[in-house]
Amino acid sequence: MIKPRKMTVLVIMLCLLLVAAACSTSKKTGSQGSNSSVQETGETTSGTKDWTKENVTLTVIHEHTAEVAQTVASSRMYLRVQNEFLDAYPNVNMEVTALGSSEVFERLTVLAASNELPDIVYLNKVVFDAVKKDNMLLDISDYVDRNFFRDNLNTFSYNGSVYGIPTKYTTYNYVYYNSKLWKEAGYEEFPKTWDEVLEANEFFKNKGIPCIIFANKLPFFSMTSYFNAIVHEICGSDWVDSLNSMDGNANFTDACFVEALEKFKTLRPLWNPDFISADDQWAVAELAKGNAGAHISGSWVAGSIISHESVNPGISDIIRVAKVPTFSGKEPTVDYAVPQGIGLNAKLANDEIKKQAAIAFIQWMGSDRYSKYMAEVGEMGPVEVKVDQSGLKQMQKDMFEVMNSHKNVPHFVYRLHASVENSVQSSLSSFLSGTISAEECAADIQRAYEAQKP
């Protein structure tokens, strides 16, 4: 029988071994970008090997889970295009980690912070801002054509080089309105000015429903659905460009921006009382049920309304789309954003075979396939394609008409750091809820802006 003391020593050694095993990590070969000479996996080839004949594994983390793909067209089409690539190139194995949309960028920001990004890097503005200066993404300027894309690849460019392509192109500030209700209110089409909308509000108040249902639980809706267009109208696109170039000629504390805020607040009587805490999907459902006169949101809402047909037949014929009104009566802008894209990890430069496979993948994803598939369901893609509108609902045709006939402009903070955009969203939320004035709101955002000035 083992003596107690020896047993004790054995137990302790076992515990220490377990702890050491749990804490150990696999040896990583570091890479500081395309100039590194450290090899990642296998041998660095001279480029003479054909990547299509080698087994290649690429890692990616994205948000397109199978469950989301059932209801969200952009996810469905992303997976479709990805799978077509994998069918075309069976030598490529893609290790996919699919997470929820709120988790994926948290994971990627942590990986970016520790320089452990996957091969295919799913990008948003925050992740891109975090990595663009530090050679963590591969320069793909030579492999993609800027002119092919709606945003000219500006979203994921830095210092003249392209580091990512868009995988989504979203346009905002469309007015989805219940044409039947507005006809009852005396309007054949949705009004062109906010004054007319405010006049029509009386009709909807008497009906006990909001004139425009608004949902700002996720605070970017106030910015994308309304405020971008108001800033472009009141301050002008030159002011917006100056603001983003940080040349000192435009600041958030300028009179035009404060005026834009004050004008924005005049729209409060149109909205539902719980707009600060309401969810956008709920708002779309309420519109589809006929419990609101209109809803201002992005291009994805059309698909959501169509999905409500089973519950409310005929609703997608009643709902029409119009351009967002303006205060002055001049033509509004249509705001666009590229919320997501993909880039390549700079470490791929150390493995030519993997790099070629990854470039082929990004070129495949950057072709017009995705945009064509999105057009089939009446939604936009990052590449302009001819849309066969014969199978689309009138609402979707209206949306394409609005998008194509109005100047598409990026968000008014398109080039600024994510912290400024976050400040805009939070300050707008405080402003709209009445806790701060327009001047305080502008001052708060200006502070965040100045913190980012070089």
Binding site: R5, V19, A112, N115, V131, S427, S430, F431, S433
Partner: protein, 297 residues
Amino acid sequence: MLNNRFQPSKLVMAAYLVPSFLVYFAMLIVPLIMAITFSFFKFSNINNLTFVGLENYKTLFADKYVWISLKNNFFLIVVCMIGQIGIAFILANILNSRLIRFASFHRTVMYFPVTLSAVVVGYIWSMVFDYNYGILAYVLRSLGYKEAVKPWLGQADTVMLFVCIPLIWQYIGFHLVIILSAMTSIDKSIYEMAEIDGATGFRKAVFITFPMIKNTLSVCIMLCISANMKVFDHIIAMTNGGPGFSSSVLAVYTYKKSFSEMNLGYGSALSVGFFVVTSAIIALSRILLSNKKGEIT
């Protein structure tokens, strides 16, 4: 010889503690040291660390949203202390009474919310408080109090109070179990003598139970302070810190600064400040609750 049999040597005792200490060191001490170190840098990824000295701390002191978040944390502490511990004390006295039947069943039911995920609790209660379809709004409208129905989670003046309700609801059971177990150590004969002298339930609770479980209540207070200083899940699920920053708390603000804005250096400074404030509050509560000899009463 008999002592040696039953008391292991110091070496053996230390050896048994080593694995736990290693885990404690790796999970608590190392991250704390790294957070303190990173708080002196500005960075968004490990390739680009820029030493900025105390700049992050200067920003922290000048950042009004830090003070708003801290104020919200203090509000939560005060309200939840009264709600969680106060209600738990009352319920513990009721459950400890001779007259109550199926006490263990009631205890289990009251403890059940503690086992739920904070995110689930947050979402359920945000549905309860929903302006259009929530149970509370429905009941108020049915009773004719239509004007009382408000978007409680969307108004700056009501949001913090309504965020406290699920926090209180969820953790009453936690403190109840602790207080009940302390009450079992009180000699029943004391209560019997008090009853003979004509003491009511209220007087027994205030003059017998409360003084005798003061130590336990001090522990409950410290747990309440630390839990409400680090509250995160409920806020994110219910309001995301909004409207604006009205319901923002330090943990939520730190998270947003670190991961939504990739300002990891400032986020580290916030978490160090967070740690210092929480430690200071707990230390203060220990001082206030201790007697002249320095013992916790």
